[in-house]
Amino acid sequence: MSRRLPWLGLALGVGYAFLYLPLALLVLLSFNDSRLVTSWTGFSFRWYLALWNNTALIDAALLSLRIAAVSATGALVIGTLAGFALARLGAFRGRALFGAMVAAPLVMPEVITGLSLLLLFVALASAVGWPGERGVTTITIAHITFATAYVAVVVQARLADFDESLEEAAMDLGARPWTVFATITLPLIAPALASGWLLAFTLSLDDLVIASFTSGPGATTLPMVVFSAMRLGLTPELFALATIIIAVVSAALLLALRLGRVATSLTRV
């Protein structure tokens, strides 16, 4: 980077400014006493207090966290198996279709995924009587389905990175496949599993479109509440919510950076 340092430094500076100035603005405005974004009338915590008292929003946030935790765990299990199959099983019948089904959700437009899952649930309900009512369960299934792809990619990349001969050596020494997996493979891919789970968790927490299609009258997630509030206009309460999310994510990522390898696998998607 020696001779071209200024040019590259400029590219980075402009890029990061573009990414971070809007976020900085959200944080700043969340402490503004005024409702208007154009005038600063003083420092205040009142919007945080208003947020705390907004029970509809808090309830939706709790529901979203619950759905995210369950669907991230489900996606972790299925995605790890899928990533393992793609990285370690070699050729098997239907591999091309399997590979396509794992990779396609990464780029599939959300409206297509959402609509198709809803129509599946409706068709299933009329064919086998399940799901009787759409809500938390159907959103969770939808989130597991698209987050599985992200977990699979992270796990597959990590498995491709390390030497297969470690596993082969254990096999040669007489370890059974399950023992090899538990004592060799699992510890080696643990950072990828952690980042895969976090990725799935975040994607679920953040999803508006797929949840809107697959939800029923009973289940309103945080993005749905935020979206309908935004359509009525910006409120500093939403800025306060954004600030809390930014603070939590920054803290988590800094911690991951300290822990090292998690951050590396986060960049593999």
Partner: protein, 301 residues
């Protein structure tokens, strides 16, 4: 363990690994598309669900297949839909190009940064992606709206006399898409640029190539897989994007994702929404296949 037993247990392991993800993705990813295709061919009806069955019994107790191509005919004939598709393709393509122009220098600079700093620089690119998508779009509403930060700044500096219309324009849609999708461009670009062996550039320099020429003939071609992956990761989801055109675009920013949403949620025309989804999927089949091919290639290395 005898050899046949080992083979048998190997088969069992393979089956155990495959059955859950295969069944899950088949049931919840592939099968739904078939249902969408079926409903796209049915007629809208009043009721729950609001479409008529494709297979039905006639009064003479004969099972008949009633296919309705009307939705697709409407898609092809009505300029509104055709223009929405073309507009979506254009907006997604221009956004992907803008992401590439901003993201390539960033990824290049990160890949050339001292190793101990690369991690932090990468995490800084990803961090916004981990915060809420909606709230990041909200930041741009605050900046661009008529009573927004940018107009306030311009007015107070005396650069304009009355607020400019910045929000609810196609420019705002581009800005929103580039802002939200930039990390998806930088990461694959970085991955392929970081793998590039600096020795190759030194060799080019030794052979008398100037830095720019070395970049054009060595770095750029070798980073092509990263460029292709990044462009696909931005372009494909952006074609069907709903939230950004809905919140930042004006009434003229009728992109396919938004049209589909309105057909479904407001007009409750499920067959028409399905036909829009099928047509969108057909439009994206080649880019998606290309993306899948790249992903498989990367996995094999």
């Amino acid at each position: 363990m005898s050899a046949p037993a080992a083979v048998a247990s190997g088969r069992l392991v393979r089956l155990a690994v495959l059955v859950l993800p295969y069944a899950w993705l088949f049931l919840f990813f592939l099968l739904p598309f078939l249902i969408v295709a079926k409903i796209a061919l049915s007629e809208p009806a009043l009721g729950i669900p609001p479409y008529a069955p494709v297979l039905r019994w006639t009064e003479e107790k004969v099972l008949t297949l009633v296919l309705n191509l009307g939705n697709f005919a409407l898609l092809a004939e009505d300029r509104f839909y055709l223009e929405a598709y073309l507009r979506s393709l254009r907006v997604a393509a221009v956004s992907a190009l803008l992401c590439l122009l901003i993201g390539y220098p960033m990824a290049y600079a990160i890949a050339r940064a001292p190793e101990r700093r690369r991690h932090l620089l990468l995490v800084l690119v990803i961090l916004p992606f981990w915060t809420s998508f909606l709230l990041r779009v909200m930041a741009w509403i605050g900046i661009l709206q008529e009573q927004g930060v940018l107009n306030g700044l311009l007015l107070s500096l005396g650069l304009v006399r009355e607020p400019l219309r910045l929000l609810y324009t196609e420019g705002a849609v581009y800005l929103g898409i580039v802002y939200c999708y930039l990390p998806f461009m930088v990461l694959p670009l970085y991955a392929s640029l970081a793998k590039l062996d600096p020795v190759l550039l030194e060799a080019a320099a030794d052979l008398g190539a100037r830095p720019f020429r070395a970049f054009l003939t060595v770095t750029l071609p070798l980073s092509f897989p990263g460029i292709a992956a990044g462009v696909m990761l931005v372009f494909i989801p952006a074609v069907g994007e709903f939230v950004i055109p809905e919140l930042l675009g004006g009434p003229s920013a009728q992109l396919v994702g938004r049209v589909l949403w309105v057909e479904f949620f407001q007009n409750r025309d499920w067959p028409m929404a399905s036909a829009l989804a099928v047509a969108l999927l057909l439009l994206l089949v080649i880019p998606i296949a290309l993306f899948q091919h790249l992903a498989a290639q990367r996995a094999r290395r």
